[in-house]
């Protein structure tokens, strides 16, 4: 437990050791509010809700979460500190988990910085705050899923740019899983069950159900199991590289 806390603290602080955190938070808040007001025309809709904010989250997180997660392992490998970290008397899964938790907490902080929008919408009207809270939680979990994927891919390389691109591509497939772009590539050769399964992996599908006010347990279970699986795979990748 102590190791988890120590690694978490180190990793979380690492984001703030460079201007990265400030730049990232500014970009995240700037772009998400910009999209809400200028692209989705928040005011013209005359509706007291945040759907014009949450619509953009899958796309924004798809690009920005890999930027947070790309360093998780690639940087350790480039610096050589991975050799130090992995020879400390700690089980690898604890290191994987606490690194991810630090990135997840950072994503939570970024989302928290958009809270003024929530306050504004309450000032202008009376939104369904339950749905907004659920949507925030959904967005955070989705961010966690993107981060787990990024962490996994980051463990494959010491090049952060490669890790970023790989994580965006993998994330894109998950975001688009419910759309024809992905399904059309699978449908001709795969049995229906497989197509169904892939369609059910859609980040947008799960996230939309949450923002529509149907806080389904299935969406929660989906994101949490995906995070669990990606982190498990992350541990396996580290283990395999040890034997390589």
């Amino acid at each position: 437990m102590r190791a988890l806390v120590l690694i978490f603290r180190r990793e979380f602080a690492a984001y703030f050791a460079t201007p990265l955190a400030a730049v990232f938070l500014a970009v995240f808040v700037g772009v998400s509010t910009g999209m809400t007001f200028f692209v989705s025309n928040f005011f013209d809709r005359s509706q007291a809700d945040l759907s014009s904010f949450f619509t953009w989250q899958p796309w924004l997180l798809l690009v920005l979460m890999p930027a947070v997660g790309m360093r998780l392992w690639a940087e350790e490998r480039r610096l050589g500190t991975i050799e130090l970290l992995m020879t400390l008397p700690v089980q690898p899964w604890k290191i994987v988990l606490s690194k991810w938790l630090a990135a997840f907490a950072f994503a939570g902080l970024a989302l928290a910085f958009t809270m003024p929008l929530w306050i504004t919408v309450n000032w202008l009207g009376s939104p369904d705050n339950g749905v907004i809270l659920a949507s925030y939680l959904g967005a955070w979990l989705m961010a966690g899923a993107f981060l787990a994927i990024a962490s996994c891919i980051s463990a494959l390389t010491k090049n952060q740019v490669l890790a970023f691109i790989g994580a965006v591509i993998a994330g894109f497939i998950f975001v688009m899983a419910g759309f024809d772009l992905v399904l059309a590539a699978v449908r001709p050769w795969a049995p229906d069950v497989v197509v169904q399964v892939i369609a059910s992996m859609s980040f947008i599908g799960h996230f939309q159900r949450i923002t529509d006010g149907v806080f389904e347990a299935s969406a929660l279970v989906f994101f949490i199991s995906l995070i669990g699986f990606a982190l498990w795979l992350n541990v396996q990748i580290l283990d395999a590289r040890k034997a390589a």
Binding site: A3, L6, A14, L79, G80, T81, E83, T87, V90, A244
Partner: protein, 258 residues
């Protein structure tokens, strides 16, 4: 553990990277009080062997033991007895020396109070006071290497595996590092890799010569000297070499079949 008992043991260690055999059947033991110098040309397999002892790499076959614990099967126990300085003395550049060493101390299971006490001792013995609150990225090579040593000593381990501890240090720093290793020697088993021959004479009780993944010699520095070909003193030397250099060249060039 009793004096002389094996604290490090490798049994027929083999590591292949694809078709390349980086380490090819290395077996040796190191007891308390010994300082073993790993000697060999670049790319000989010294670092790979050390990584396997530390449990960072998994051997293709064979095994490595630290204080009797298998580095692969019982990694946590093995690592608890091991201080390891990886090649290049990596450390987190964004942390201060104090934060970094406190982090390692915590990860090594020292309580904050124990950690503080231990770090206070290390600041003295490794002379880190001047850079204590400086970020690691701003340190000179010499200080960075010392931080790496401090990190390896935090939990006062029985076994030290140091990959090129004096690489990149100036002559004074080299001297200090060697003095430090000598003071640590009586209570620990230490393995030091180097390609600097004088280092072996300066600090090692034993030298193991490795080239192309194979152990070519294992003995005291004096034993090693016996390998030196007889030099005809009447012949002028183009390049001045020491007898130890002659021995090293003789072992690594002849027996590796170059």
């Amino acid at each position: 553990m009793a004096v002389g008992q094996a604290l490090v043991e490798t049994r027929a260690l083999i590591k292949s990277f694809g078709p390349v055999r980086a380490v090819d059947g290395i077996s040796f033991t190191v007891g308390r009080g010994e300082v073993v110098g790993f000697l060999g040309p670049n790319g000989a397999g010294k670092s790979t062997t050390m990584k396997m002892i530390a449990g960072f790499l998994e051997p293709t076959s064979g095994s490595a033991f630290v204080a009797g614990f298998d580095s692969q099967r019982d990694p946590i126990s093995a690592r608890n007895h091991l201080g390891y300085l990886p090649e290049g003395a990596p450390a987190y550049p964004d942390m201060t020396v104090a934060d970094f060493l406190a982090f390692v101390a915590g990860m090594r299971g020292l309580s904050p109070a124990q950690g503080q006490r231990r770090l206070a001792e290390l600041v003295e013995s490794i002379d880190l006071a001047d850079v204590w609150n400086r970020r690691i990225e701003a340190l000179s090579k010499g200080y960075k290497r010392r931080v790496g040593i401090a990190q390896a000593l935090v939990h006062d381990p029985d076994v030290l595996v140091l990959d090129e501890p004096t690489d990149g240090l100036d002559p004074n720093q080299k001297h200090e590092m060697r003095a430090l290793i000598r003071t640590l020697a009586p209570t620990k088993a230490i393995i030091v890799s180097t390609h600097i021959l004088e280092e072996v004479e300066a600090i090692c009780t034993r030298a193991i010569v490795i080239a192309r993944g194979k152990m070519l010699a294992d003995g005291t520095p004096a034993d090693l000297l016996a390998h030196a070909p007889h030099r005809d003193e009447t012949m002028p030397q183009l390049v001045k070499t020491t007898p130890l250099e002659d021995a090293f060249r003789h072992i690594t060039l002849d027996q590796a079949g170059v």
